[in-house]
Symmetry: C2
Subunit: 185 residues, 2 copies
């Protein structure tokens, strides 16, 4: 049980969420975790290793996030549950960006370093699965459309500091999903 290591990863995840990975210094992480700076290097040889650990932690968060969606009864309810779950985090996402999308996009800017694109591919795979179950044609393209709509809304709302814009757009997204995909009985 590497309790101290987990504390550091949790602290690093918070600081990175607030400031971005590039602007996150190990001194800030150490202060957030209430650990002396030098101690960080006992658990992580480099800053890059710490960022990789944060990516793994975010991946686990996303798994739990999607598992919550999967707990709903129908594919349509599952998709709407995920949209609503993003919507319920609106204030945080608009203030500092999406904990999955902001990290995934930022880390792709540095070629050699760690990647977090799995945070997008996991969501696409999960959404595609739900759409396939609904017999929606071009399920992969529709998954891309939905993920891009969510991420784009977050990006625009974040830059404009407009949480209401994000909530409205995600509400419309869930409404459109229900309209199009509800099986008339």
């Amino acid at each position: 049980m590497a309790k101290r290591g987990e504390q550091l990863v949790a602290a690093a995840s918070r600081v990175i969420h607030e400031r971005g990975a590039a602007a996150t210094t190990l001194a800030l992480v150490a202060a957030e975790a209430k650990v002396p700076l030098g101690n960080v290097y006992y658990y992580f040889k480099t800053k890059e290793e710490l960022v990789e650990a944060v990516v793994r932690a975010r991946t686990a968060e996303l798994e739990a996030f999607l598992a919550y969606g999967s707990s709903k009864a129908t594919p349509l309810e599952r998709l709407c549950a995920i949209v609503d779950a993003f919507r319920s985090r609106a204030d945080d996402m608009v203030r500092v960006g999406c904990p999955f999308g902001a990290l995934a996009s930022e880390l792709e800017k540095t070629e050699g370093g760690p990647s977090a694109r799995i945070l997008f591919s996991m969501q696409l795979d999960w959404m595609e699965g739900q759409l396939r179950e609904l017999r929606v044609p071009a399920a992969r393209a529709r998954a891309v459309e939905l993920l891009a709509a969510i991420q784009g809304a977050c990006l625009v709302a974040h830059a404009l500091h407009d949480a209401a814009l994000f909530k409205r757009r995600l509400g419309d997204l869930a409404r459109d999903l229900r309209r199009e995909l509800t099986t008339e009985s």
Copy 2:
């Protein structure tokens, strides 16, 4: 005519586009502009001032970009022209991000510094104007939907290093616009 100053802004804009504003150092900009480092400070007192100049340059680029769209005959053609213009820049946008969106979102992460959200509000205003001319209800919300769709597609495609995804999504976006907004005669 501050020729040297314009060279520096152009060089800074290129470096920021490639690496992001935070990772851009004045040494890199000076090298890109083939100017000694110390000389940068004759034209810009601080790095922040240089970034502000880059934002103004991008704003002018966006104005020209939207003016090109405005040159088309009908509002529908104008909207599609902008979508197509983004699409024609796909390789660059997928490799390093949107020159407008990436800058706008990154600069909002640092509170005290310069802002580039005008790059989003200009696009929203322009799109809203076209949609209004087409008598589309909830024109502002539809403008947000379109801008978010473009920016989200760029973000996802960038993180996944998948230019084809971006081109497909923007092609679908233009097709959907034509389908919904074409006036049957």
